[in-house]
Amino acid sequence: MSPAIRNLGERLTRHLDGTLCGLVLALMALGLFVLFSASNASFARVSAQLVNMLVALALMWAFANIPPHYLSRLALPLFLLGVGLLVAVAAFGEVVNGARRWLDLGVVRIQPSELMKIAVPLALAWYFDRYEANLRLGNYLVAAVMLAVPVALIVRQPDLGTALLIAASGFFVLYLAGLSWQLIAGLAIAGLASLPLAWSALHEYQRQRILTLIDPMQDPLGAGYHTLQSTIAVGSGGLTGKGWLNGTQSHLDFIPERTTDFIFAVYSEEFGFLGNLILLALFLLVVARAMMITARAPTLFTRLLAGALTLIFFAYAFVNMGMVAGLLPVVGVPLPLISYGGTAMVSICIGFGILMSIATHKKLVQT
């Protein structure tokens, strides 16, 4: 190989993190395999997903090359844009399936709540970094308001699942920024105490989803159907699974949304307990690597951002698998890097891009 090419290669990959890249690619490859089975061997689906992945990887590379301090400058405008779009959705959004989530811009339809998945932790990390020298209770209050506004707007859409995840992402930043343990305990108690109130505010279908978790047979055709069938799929996978393309639950149409939110049921049925352990291990390795990057991050901004992105990734994986395994209520959360769908793939990979940027730009700063 000529030195020129090697040089170019080195410049292109300078800001990528080898370990993380390897893990992401491994999970994506696994995802394509499962998708092939879940879509009943549809090459169209698989190639569409491949395109999603290539776009997501390109964005990951791009974000890896953006130095963190540029990101911190973007934080506030991005956040304000996101909130503005959410307000626009509330005012003239399109109603799809009874919820107002989409905004039609003429050319494209966008779902601004997706943008907030990155914008919220970014903005909060920026905010704490700005007041790093002397953080007071007031700062936490301002941060809490910054978090509450978009969350409230998304709850109203209604999209409880996304709202909870964004609330969690903001909470992760607050937690890492040093929100006192007493306050966390206080919030937890207040949260528990307000459960009955929250219950009465939920939509009927949301209550059903929670009740179903306790007794799926109570409504086997309705709210309980997803959980019941996905649990059967997981359980019948056994130790080693029924083998790729051989999942009966999946291929007889018992699993709804089986290429998207419930793709883990297909995986679990076909690859069994051992397959699940491998997947858990891969996710854990991703998390571990991301934690290392977080621990070594040079500034408060990068530390908070990296930490929050790591925890969000974990939360997605955990909530999705917990939902399929009947531990958590059914909420529309995809399995990161595995589920079919472009938006989630892109936002997850942008997260990894930012992590890589934090990991690699640090060295340059130090030297």
């Binding site: 997981v234 359980g235 056994g238 679990s268 699940n276 858990l280 998390v287």
Partner: protein, 633 residues
Amino acid sequence: MHAVVELRNLQLELHRFHVRLAVAAGAMFLLFAILGARFFYLQVVRYEHYHTLAEANRISIVPVVPNRGIISDRNGVVLAHNFSAYTLEVTPSKAGDLEALINALSEIVEITPRDRRRFRKLLEESRNFESVPIRTRLSEEEIARFAANRYRFPGVEINARLFRQYPHGELFSHVVGYIGRINQRDLERLEESGQAANYRGTDHIGKVGVEQSYERELHGVTGVEQVETDAGGRAVRSLSRTPPVSGNNLVLTLDAKLQQVAYTAFGDYRGALVAIDPRSGAVLAFVSKPGFDPNLFVDGIDVQTWNELVGSPDKPMTNRALHGQYPPGSTIKPFMALAGLELGKRTPHYAISDPGYFTLAGGAHQWRDWKKGGHGIVDLHRSLVVSCDTYYYGLANDLGIDAIHGFLGRFGFGNRTGLDIEGEAGGILPSPQWKMSRFRQKWFAGDTISVGIGQGYIVATPLQLAYATAILAANGTAFRPHLVQHIQDSRTYQLKALPPQPAGAVPLKPENLQRVKNALVDVTRPGGTAARAGAGAPYAFAGKTGTAQVIAMKPGERYDEKRVSERLRDHALFIAYAPADNPVIALAVLVENGGSGSGTAAPIARQVLDYYLLGREPQPLARGKDDEHEPRD
């Protein structure tokens, strides 16, 4: 020194951050361990259980659709029921090339172009894995032929299904309504109201009329059957079954025979008739003509037939009785007369000398009476019997629009009556505020004058007119009009009566009421505008004719029926109740482009009353069209 402190602070902060990170790492690890344990429990400990569920016996949970409730009239005549038939259905996701498939199928069973069009429309509305009917009501022979060839058609099945049938066709189309296939909008509504689960397996839902408004009663509760299926997904045997609960039956207040009599009485005219029992608000007949065949909608209507229905100049899809809004014309006069007496603007003996027109003091504009030259000396009684316009122009002017608005509002004008089917129009009872918000114009004194004879801005639905007449017949007591008399529980067969719902009362002095009512009886006697329609009736009945202009006349121009094309002819109206001293039926008739109330609308009312009170079958009545001296109003 300062720098050292800051550095130490930084160190401390970093340490604190690392502790937090470690705690988070521990929590994540713990949560993943819980997931792992759950997997272990499901996939290793309980493996046998789930294996049995999924692999050895593929149990599928199948909804068992309940029978839809039956709708009958007050005498038990069935208006909507179900019958079982075989359908040929295609599941698009399993079928491949649909065009080729349908062509191949058409060699075995007959598939008409209409079936194809309907199939294509249904296909657009349904999801890919749902089966869509290509043919309904297969004959035994067709079933046998298909069974022999079934191996050639993956994704095509024969299913036994229940179909809705409306044995009376268009007669009840606007009141019983119809059911149709559940579309995306229905689905969203079901989802929103938390009923989606109960509709798993149900294809149809009430779209219009009683079928729609009593959907919850009629649908029933879907049952669940756990069936063991073989590898091909066909049911092998039933494991457990929660039977469905059939929908409740509805007994309507309508009288099917009365409805038929009323419908036929219209002859070739378009129009509407609503008859109400003034003692309870029970709707006895509810006609909007022309109607349409509701059976067309049950299997899914094809685009061409739909376009023909919607595009027809006769507007068969319009429910004239419920949301057709027409000027009430002279049928408003009894209510105006009552207003005059009650509000002290007129005494029974006050009389005018009618020159045939009315002018406002100092104004030049003439509001003409329908009768050239006028009616001479006219008091309250005569004003109703001969339907004198001039009397009511003056009365309206003396009352003023606010008083008129207040008084007529109590008889339900300007408000929905609250009939128990959807889509009701509320009419317009004008007021200065209404005109300002609607047209951004202020109210003129002249606007009030036309309202006095039911023209100008005031419009009402035939249902509203019937309701107002019922209130008048019941001496001011109002009951909400309703169509359902009893709901029969499908399990216990017990009839639950829906009691009449009082809707307030209009306080009226008995002597005023009696004067107006007496005059209305004289309307149907010799000398009255409806004398011809009242001739020979063995019971006393009260009525009022009315004519509503379709086109505005230029000043100085006279209406000439022969010069005006059929569609622009006046609408004919008639309100009535009977027997006059103890009314059991109140009604309103509207005949579109019927010409005059006395000539076309009143004879229809007479036939309906004859049937309802005497059980007399209608005889062909001489219509007043050929009579030169027939009063126009």
